[in-house]
């Protein structure tokens, strides 16, 4: 094995190496979450704006697939390394303490693996709901309200119909709440793991972490709430 390959193997087998991979992929996925939110909020600017935006994304063609595969790779790496780390953490303490003496750890930090698993289930459902599925008539050529005259999707109507179902919206809101929990710990952790959270930056990073997590929650949840309450129809 060449020395370079050997060094790289040692890096990603090490505790800190794995943590850095989880942090970097987490950072990339947070960038996606922000972009996705800003794109979706265009629903409040009317059907034409969001439909034009959706068509623009679809027309990216090859680039769209590069982004999709990149995201998939990041999600996969984030999950694989997290599972490895969690398994090591579980085996490092087999016998639990009789009483819980937690002083500083937040609920969000303790349930990271479970909020993560819920988000994964949510992502699979979300993709089946809007991107892959053909069960809810979104891809039925006969249902004209899901198509625009130029043959592209009427994303606005798809969102309105999707979120009118209360239990679908409820699951979205639950998913977003756990995403908020995941981000509130994950955002700040990225900077500690990458060695960037200097004592001076620690407080601002903590505040930014909460603003980002709750901002993503509020922004995303505003869409199903607006549709359920009839503000958007």
């Amino acid at each position: 094995m060449s020395p370079i390959v050997q060094s790289l193997c040692r890096f990603y087998h090490s505790s800190i190496g794995k943590k850095i991979i989880v942090a970097v992929t987490g950072l990339g996925l947070m960038g996606f979450i922000l972009g996705h939110l800003l794109g979706n909020l265009q629903i409040f600017l009317g059907p034409d704006t969001i439909n034009t935006y959706a068509k623009k994304l679809h027309d990216l063609g090859l680039l769209l697939w590069v982004v999709r595969l990149g995201l998939l790779a990041m999600v996969a790496a984030h999950i694989v390394f997290t599972i490895q780390l969690t398994r090591e953490n579980r085996t490092a303490r087999k016998q639990k303490y009789a009483l819980d003496g937690t002083r500083k750890a937040t609920k969000a930090s303790v349930i990271m693996i479970w909020s993560g698993v819920t988000i994964l289930v949510f992502i699979i459902y979300h993709l089946m709901h809007f991107t892959i599925t053909r069960t809810n008539g979104y891809y039925d050529p006969a249902v004209s309200r899901y198509w625009l005259p130029d043959g592209s999707h009427n994303v606005y109507n798809m969102m309105i119909d999707g979120f009118r179902v209360w239990y679908v919206s409820a699951f979205y809101i639950l998913g977003m709440f756990l995403l908020c929990s995941h981000l509130s710990h994950g955002f700040a952790s990225v900077f500690q793991t990458l060695g960037l959270a200097t004592p001076r930056l620690r407080r601002p990073i903590h505040v930014a972490s909460l603003i980002f997590a709750w901002g993503v929650f509020a922004g995303n949840v505003s869409i199903p709430l607006a549709i359920l309450s009839g503000l958007k129809s």
Binding site: S14, S15, G17, R93, K94, S109, G195
Partner: protein
Amino acid sequence: MAVSQSSLNLTLKIWRQAGPDQPGRFDTHEAKGIPDSASFLEMLDIVNEGIITKGGDPVVFDHDCREGICGTCSMVINGMPHGPKRGVTTCQLHMRSFRNGDTIWIEPWRAKAFPVIRDLAVDRNAFERIQQAGGYITVRTGSAPEANSVPVPKDDADASFAAAACIGCGACVAACPNASAMLFTAAKLSHFNLLPQGKPEADKRTLAMVRTMDEQGFGNCTNHYECEAYCPKLISVETIRQMNRDYRNASARETAGV
């Protein structure tokens, strides 16, 4: 003038385990008439005297200086490593921190890398192995040099000194939900890596100590910061940030061959 002193009657639930591979269990011991001025270890001494008088096996626990500086005493009291007072070791915890009639649960550090030797005593040689991997400077530094011959920035000197306060007791591992040893390893690294005498070997030291730490079977830091909250020497997780940065840079330089 006599100092007023009251005594406590307590119920202790103490972890008893005959050996590393033996099953353990909590045994109940009554501790009667414990002066509130006694330290936690002195309270256990009193309990042990009672057990010995009755012909039983005394509770085994680690202790040495009883001044809070050696890092030997190690027990989890009501789920809290070193007990309820912040910034002190078990030997510096006094019974006035408890109330008459309390039930107190006493356990050893729990980590795969710290196997129980007997009762409350655990084997902390994993820390020694990490230290031996690079927690030193290889040149002979001789006797104390003239103070200004090697200039050290004040901030670095302070941060290194704060890290050097680590007594290697293992409370960080005991407190961490993942039984991670990152605060200990990071404290040892910051102690040396921040100083001019330690910098030439910083990369080698960082790689060797982190790799040895990984081999011991500790968990991985997930930034709960319980270690910092339970460290009797109040060492900051800032040291872990420095270790993450140093390991990242050292790995990059090793891969690039520079």
